[in-house]
Amino acid sequence: MMNIEKLLFVTKFEELGFDALKSLLALRKAGLEHVVFVNVIEKERFAMSRVGYRKDEEIRLRETANIRFIDWAESLFEMGMEAGVYIVVGSLVPEILKAAEKEATDLIVIGRSHKGVLDQLYSGSDVTELLRRSATPVLVYKHMSETTLALEKPFERPLLATDWSPACHKAVDYLKTLEGIIEEIHLIHVITEKELADSPSHTSHTIQKARKQTRKKLEEVCDIFEERGITARAHIYIGNAEDEIEKAAREHQASMIVLGSSAKASWAERWIGSTPREIAEKSMFPCLLIPPEKSAS
């Protein structure tokens, strides 16, 4: 059984604030009791923008982060929760992974920058690197100004896009423990144009047969959720995976998109698939990426 008891909340403050954390506290119903805050002071970038490295600037940044975290931790403590803090100087992704491992967290939450093009490039590659290397599920949270969607309850209406990979099966295990938090889940599978073109006889019958088989598999997953009292609906889309998943999330008013983070091919298991990467970096929805077992780098 996978419970989200401990969460790692990675912030640079400007992109993820306490309001974002508060929206995740609904997870208390599913056993969340400990939040670990992480702020990484990135020495390389810091040094790039100045002449040399200044210790006094590091102290200022550390203390600024510390004051914010004390305030946030006090709010959690007063709710009877546990809180911890890491303020470290180093490279973002390795420091996040180190903290996640030390703390044995069940979920990493990271924001995606919403600033200039250069920042987006940095941020995009950081998020991608984290998704690729993390053995822990990662929720890529979006800044409030990017969307007017109901970020107050991100787990209320997830959309799980499955390609039947092991990571997707793990995502089902992860989500099914969230009864009482998930109100309704939408399961989708995207049949690509290529899959249809590759089928032996590209007829109406074979297309409908593929739809029927996929539908049956989706319904079986729906049953897993329904048994736990979570309303689940199955949907099939045809086309480009990234576009269709985004479309489905909009059509079903999803509060987040959930994906398995690995490609299906075994040679690529250590690499995040292109669809999860594209969606995590570009979607207007928060994205929860679930890695397959033993995918730590």
């Binding site: 510390n66 004390i70 403590f77 803090v85 890491y86 903290a99 703390e103």
Partner: protein, 131 residues
């Protein structure tokens, strides 16, 4: 033999500060960097006093304090809380944890909010240790 004092704090600078104050006042300090490590050391070393931070990785001082005060073998070891977290927050958190099904625990003997002056810490230690 000098009395053994365990300093539990994740900040190495604060540990160094407390250890220096303790050594200058004739105590034998030992150190732990988080609540989890602290609890192991408390059980192994049976210190005469604990100086405890609240906001730490792995396990907070709030949880460690709770574990100690509900453990018959450890509950009488005096604790000085030395933290940036406000005392009223500490007390409210303990109340909330009790409401969530935990046992009620007594208030800490002494609660000092960071930062403290060395003289203040030394005087507090002496007071608690009956020196």
């Amino acid at each position: 033999m000098s009395k053994k004092v365990l300093v539990v704090d994740d900040d190495p600078d604060v540990r160094l500060f407390s250890v220096t104050v303790l050594e200058e006042n004739g105590y034998s300090p030992i150190e732990a960097a988080n609540g989890e490590e602290g609890l192991k050391m408390i059980k192994a070393e049976k210190p005469d006093l604990i100086i405890l931070d609240v906001l730490m990785p792995r396990q907070s001082g709030i949880r460690l304090y709770r574990e100690m005060k509900t453990d018959k073998a450890l509950k009488d070891i005096p604790i000085i809380i030395l933290s940036g977290i406000a005392k009223k927050t500490f007390l409210r958190s303990q109340k909330a944890m009790t409401e969530f099904g935990g046992k009620p625990v007594p208030e800490p003997e002494i609660y000092l909010e960071k930062p403290v002056e060395p003289e203040e810490l030394a005087a507090t230690i002496k007071k608690v240790m009956g020196g």
